[in-house]
């Protein structure tokens, strides 16, 4: 039972927490130097380059795949552009065996974990090598070996799932935690409230990482909530919170490392709000000129997180113009070649229509499948993707 130990007042005082601002943690200036007072980050060259390369790979992939979408090679695409530091800086602060449950704009985390361009392409083109068997739209990646939960489009559903997943990790006692990513828009869903409250009550090792990128499609954050960002909500759950410059790779990394420590060592869930900006359109279907100004975008383009890290690396002499050029070129080449290869691969087998609904195909569904195969056999021209699979020699159930 709540026994409020709070002080007593004898006249009605209303407060709205406005005086109570959560500060923003920053380390790295846009010119690549540290802020005065900023502690030198605990990041060695190897790790720094792993992070940086993942950022560049993400950027290159995004640029090329958006272009491919524009050329009609791909049905849909979503970019991480502008948010690479928020996503990769946080993922890099974890153990690779920690679970990642993302929203959809976190391909950077997957790149950091080692998802190959081949693997990205197979999903984007939904070919026979796509782990998701061509069932989901582009960018709905997943990898069990890299502990990256397959993306699902309904927003915020992964947030309470992350609480549950982390609770399972806690009971298993293997010292791992879960991070879940979501936008400031998705944080309005009821599932967000459920997830944070349950995590606080049950002391679950989970990191809630909000990418506050200013928009949910066309809806600006000012129409999403009246408060100063998402961070103040943590107090409502008595949860540790930190706000961080989301374009500052060092601050994001540092903050998430500290958050992970709280989560794993003390079973204290943490909310991390990264303040950033979605530089690209919401998706390839969107045109932001209908709801925001070029000027606003320009301000944020100046804060490019990749450039910021690059400058820091160069100041350390850990990276050079030459290496940059080489990396960019080789990535572009690899992306293009891989894309061509992936696009040519056949689609997943017809059986993939009915498998994985259950652990086994139930009889009624198998009947539907047999009927479908007979139908395709009758009208092979109408089903170019699968006609080959049902030709007379290939009969048989799923």
């Amino acid at each position: 039972m709540t026994t409020t130990k709070s002080k007593v007042v004898y006249s009605p005082v209303f407060t709205d927490g406005a005086e109570f601002r959560i500060p923003t943690f920053k380390l790295l200036k846009q010119d690549g130097t540290l802020y005065k007072g900023g502690k030198k980050p605990d990041l060695d060259k190897e790790k720094a380059l792993r992070i940086y390369k993942a950022m560049v790979m993400t950027r290159v992939l995004d640029e090329r795949m958006l272009a491919a979408q524009r050329q009609g090679r791909l049905s849909f695409y979503m970019q991480c552009t502008g948010e690479e530091a928020a996503v990769i800086g946080s993922a890099a602060a974890l153990d690779d065996a920690d679970m990642i449950m993302a929203q959809y704009r976190e391909q950077g985390a997957l790149a950091y974990r080692g998802f190959t361009i081949d693997e990205f392409m197979n999903q984007l083109f939904g070919n026979e090598l796509d782990y998701g068997k061509g069932r989901q739209m582009p960018v709905h990646y997943g990898s069990s070996k890299l502990n990256y939960m397959t993306i699902s489009s309904p927003l915020a559903t992964q947030i309470p799932q992350a609480t549950g997943y982390a609770y399972g990790q806690k009971l298993a006692g293997d010292g791992h935690c879960t991070i879940t990513y979501f936008g400031e828009g998705a944080a309005s869903e009821g599932d967000f409230h459920a997830a944070l409250n349950m995590a606080a009550v049950h002391r679950v090792p989970v990191i809630f990482l909000c990418r506050n990128n200013g928009y949910a499609i066309s809806t600006p954050a000012t129409e999403q909530f009246a408060a100063d960002g998402v961070a103040p909500r943590a107090y409502g759950y008595k949860m540790d919170v930190i706000r961080v410059d989301g374009n500052d790779i060092l601050a994001v990394h540092e903050a998430t490392k500290a958050a992970r420590k709280l989560a794993v060592e003390e079973n204290r869930p943490v909310l991390v709000e990264t303040m950033t900006y979605r530089l690209a359109a919401h998706s390839s279907s969107d045109d932001p000129s209908g709801y925001r100004s070029k000027d606003e975008e320009a301000v944020w383009r100046e804060k490019d997180p990749i450039l910021r890290m690059q400058r820091w690396l160069m100041k350390h002499k850990w990276w050079s113009e030459d290496e940059e050029k080489q990396l960019q070129e080789s990535l572009r080449k690899e992306v293009l070649e891989t894309m061509k290869r992936a696009q040519k691969r056949p689609p997943p087998p017809l059986e993939s229509l009915v498998t994985d609904v259950y652990d086994e195909v139930p009889p009624s569904l198998n009947r539907q499948f047999e009927k479908l195969k007979a139908h395709i056999r009758k009208y092979p021209d109408a089903y170019p993707k699968s006609a080959g699979a049902v030709s007379e020699t290939k009969k048989g159930g799923a």
Partner: protein, 325 residues
Amino acid sequence: MAKMNMLQAINDALDIAMAANDRVLCFGEDVGVFGGVFRATSHLQQKYGKDRCFNTPLVEQGIIGFANGLAAQGATPVAEIQFADYIFPAFDQIVNESAKYRYRSGNLFNVGGLTIRAPYGGGIAGGLYHSQSPEAYFAHTPGLKIVVPRNPHQAKGLLLASIHDPNPTLFFEPKRLYRASVGEVPEGEYELPLSEAEIVKEGTDITVLGWGAQMEVIEQAVEQAEKEGISCEVIDLRTILPWDVETVAQSVLKTGRLVVTHEAPLTGGFAGEIAATIQERCFLYLESPIARVTGMDTPFPLVLEKEHLPNHLKVYEAIRESVEF
């Protein structure tokens, strides 16, 4: 009359409803200045102000909870759910609240002013979560009306009727036809009746029934069947709940055969309800089993969407099988 696509017809209906009654409000995710991700609410905020057409926070259960309250207060909310696939977080507010408001209060209160619009259906490479046809999930809920238009003319007249109807109404829009379906639409205010199916084409050998985007599929299938001398009666159900049993039963009493088709999976789909009702009503007149041509009992796939969907060839085959039974 003006030539319009379905989005324009819907936008026109909303415009007319808002102009006629300042208690009509349109809101939902991205509905405000942007006019919705499909642009169905374009220009409404500019015309009627931010108080009457606005973005909501991203929370479907809140959108419908808010809309229920507004309707109870006497307003006429038209809430948009961005995709029908995302209506499920609001399921409780719709099924336990909207549908039961009048009954549980003994008619002291009601949310009859409520209309919920949501784009539904496949055929746009949307995969699991931009393709669903959830009408049957709601059709088990007395108190709701469920309406699905097949073309721009129907969309405008049925949407205006839904907005004006004194019961909470779900209006599912076949998004595949948003821009693809173009046709003549009368200017100004008009309504088409709810809970009345429409005989789109008369025929004598078999009745073929559907709604929404599936009507186009039926048209193609029937064209092929008629070439072979099978005379088809085509019915657009238009309102799923409460549905027009009489029109369908009368037709089947005449033709003796029925094919029902929808995109949603077979099991638990609304074709089952129709088949169950009609086999009872027309038992002695049925010359072949009632056939259902539907999506498969799986989540909605992406790459093999074509194989999954009940296209005109599958409907045509069902017509033939029924006639040859």
